[in-house]
């Protein structure tokens, strides 16, 4: 089966470049995680893969319309419908037959632990429950590609673990999953990471490839260094340079956070100092 994804995709929204030549390959049975801060382009990647955005250049490879499951940022749950009604509504929209829908809904309520709250209104669910319902809604029609936009933001760690378990099961069944997040420990669990900054690719590849992509080196220091590209790590400083070692600096093996901060400095040049 071929990969889904983006090939050198550029997207303009209101004359502003939201994505600038971004590529991402997502294989069936694999999780790709898109990371980045505000305005990095995470949501645009999710919406582009979901077919909701027109691209100015490049190619989008996605399954045919109904074979894509998409959960927008903020869960996509209707607050004034019950858990059951939210799922039934999606089943109707996807024209799932009366023969298939109830069984599939029961199965997903079981997998998400929402079976005991099926009559509760969306508005009365906890943040974690609402996100799990949103994922269940996106999974209902058994998509070939599942797209989740920040499903774990503001979600407590136990619910987060349950969401990942659901993602794992989905991946194991051969579905391609793309999710956006601001949490790098989630990126570490992905098959592929796409790190974005202002619509541009900072790094892309497996977690190990992204770590290896760092130019220069990262040092730990117990004092700041004038004019250096530096940031705090606990009470100490981290310094990135592609030149000479900073005075008093000790080279460290950078984690994903260090690599992406350094890559952002590298991309911004002296302006970010």
């Amino acid at each position: 089966m071929s990969d889904w994804g983006l090939d050198s995709v550029t997207v303009r929204i209101g004359g502003v470049i939201a994505l600038d030549g971004v590529s991402l390959a997502v294989a069936p049975g694999e999780v790709a995680v898109v990371v980045g801060g505000d305005g990095a382009g995470k949501t645009t990647v999710a919406r582009t893969l979901a077919g909701l955005v027109r691209v100015a250049a490049g190619t989008v490879r996605r399954p045919e319309g109904r074979r894509v499951g998409y959960q927008p940022a903020g869960s996509g749950v209707w607050p004034d419908l019950t858990v059951d009604e939210n799922l039934s509504f999606i089943a109707t929209a996807f024209r799932m037959g009366a023969a298939d829908a109830p069984g599939r809904i029961d199965q997903l309520l079981g997998a998400t632990g929402l079976a005991t709250v099926r009559d509760r209104l969306g508005a009365q669910l906890s943040g974690g429950m609402r996100q799990k319902l949103g994922v269940a809604m996106a999974l209902l029609a058994e998509p070939e590609m599942l797209i989740l936009d920040e499903p774990t933001t503001g979600v407590d760690p136990v619910s987060r673990h349950e969401l990942w378990r659901l993602v794992s099961q989905t991946v194991a069944s051969g579905t391609a999953v793309v999710m956006t997040t601001t949490y790098l420990d989630e990126a570490e669990r992905a098959g592929t990471i796409l790190a974005l900054d202002g619509g541009r690719t900072l790094a892309v590849g497996t977690p190990a490839e992204v770590r290896r992509s760092l130019r220069g080196a990262v040092y730990a220091s117990d004092h700041p260094v004038e004019g250096a590209h530096q940031w705090r790590r606990g009470a100490a400083w981290r310094i990135w340079t592609d030149g000479e070692a900073p005075p008093g600096g000790t080279p460290v093996s950078p984690d994903l956070g260090d690599v992406l901060i350094a890559a952002a400095f590298d991309a911004h040049g002296a302006a970010a100092r």
Partner: protein, 284 residues
């Protein structure tokens, strides 16, 4: 060192429910303390007691060496998770309002925020909103900063910039209390206190918090079926790349389940992650 916050043997009961159950917590000047816990662990109740917003059923809470009065609260800077900004006012109006409240001058804005000072807060990105909330909380040079998931929703560089600001306040002598359940925030703290079911479950560095908890890691080409057979056997199993992780699991049992199902692979024990610690504390 000087204890800014000193809670001793605090208990808070709501009817028959004990939300905080014998917790002691100190925050000293210049230190960044992380208060960790899943939802319902008792973090918010503890915080409200320490700030004098709720009286404890038993135990004592001291703020700056005295009772947590209104006057004492004026020396606290607080950034709630919802940020506490008036989203239909501009950046400048929010800061002017806060400045009048604290009786101080509005702080100078960094260039990029100055350029947007006449914009409505609701129209700014989360990263900008967070920086405005930090400026609003820090303008009166508080002795204690209380931050609820201060870098949630922010990317790596934005997060690094916010921690620069937090560390600058701590270097200037402020004590900082951060509530969070995220690894990247926990890693930035000098000392961590983890709550579960109203009690302190662990204390110290990140290594102390995770403690001796191990996760069983399985490397196998057949991870899809491995996930399936372990899940069917009632084992809590997660996926990291193409490796399977069983927090707190027994390697021998995992090996046996996989062998019985004919799934070949290597099974090893690894230190658990912070999230796996949360999950094991929640009894999953």
């Amino acid at each position: 060192m000087n204890a800014l916050v000193d809670g001793r043997d605090l208990v808070k009961r709501f009817g028959s429910f004990t939300a905080v159950d014998g917790v002691s917590l100190r925050v000293e000047d210049g230190e960044v303390v992380g208060l960790l816990g899943a939802n319902g662990a008792g973090k918010t109740t503890l915080l409200r007691i320490l700030l004098g917003l709720l009286s404890p059923t038993a135990g004592t809470a001291r703020l700056f060496g005295g009772s947590p009065t209104r006057a004492a609260l004026s020396r606290v800077g607080y950034v709630p998770q919802g940020l506490g900004l008036y989203t239909d006012l501009t950046v400048a109006e929010n800061l002017a309002f806060r400045a009048r409240l604290f009786g101080v001058g509005a702080p100078p804005l960094p260039d990029d925020l100055e350029a947007r000072s006449a914009e409505i807060v609701a129209g700014l990105s989360v990263g900008y909103q967070r920086r405005v909330a930090f400026l609003a909380a820090l303008m009166h040079h508080p002795a204690l900063l209380v931050l609820d998931e201060p870098t949630s929703g922010v990317g790596p560089l934005g997060r690094a910039r916010l921690w620069d600001t937090i560390r600058e306040a701590a270097d200037g002598g402020a004590g900082v209390l951060v509530t969070t359940h995220h690894l990247e925030e926990a890693e930035e703290c000098d000392r961590l206190v983890m709550m579960a079911a109203g009690k302190i479950a662990a204390e110290g560095s990140l290594v102390d918090i995770v403690g001796s908890l191990q996760a069983v890691e399985v490397e196998t080409d057949d991870w899809r079926r491995g996930l399936d057979v372990l899940g069917s056997a009632g084992v809590v199993v997660g996926l990291a790349g193409s490796r399977l992780r069983v927090p707190g699991g027994d390697p021998a049992e995992v090996r046996r389940i996989l062998e019985d199902a004919g799934v070949a692979g290597t099974v090893s024990s690894r230190p658990a992650t912070l999230e796996e610690k949360f999950v094991s504390l929640a009894g999953h």
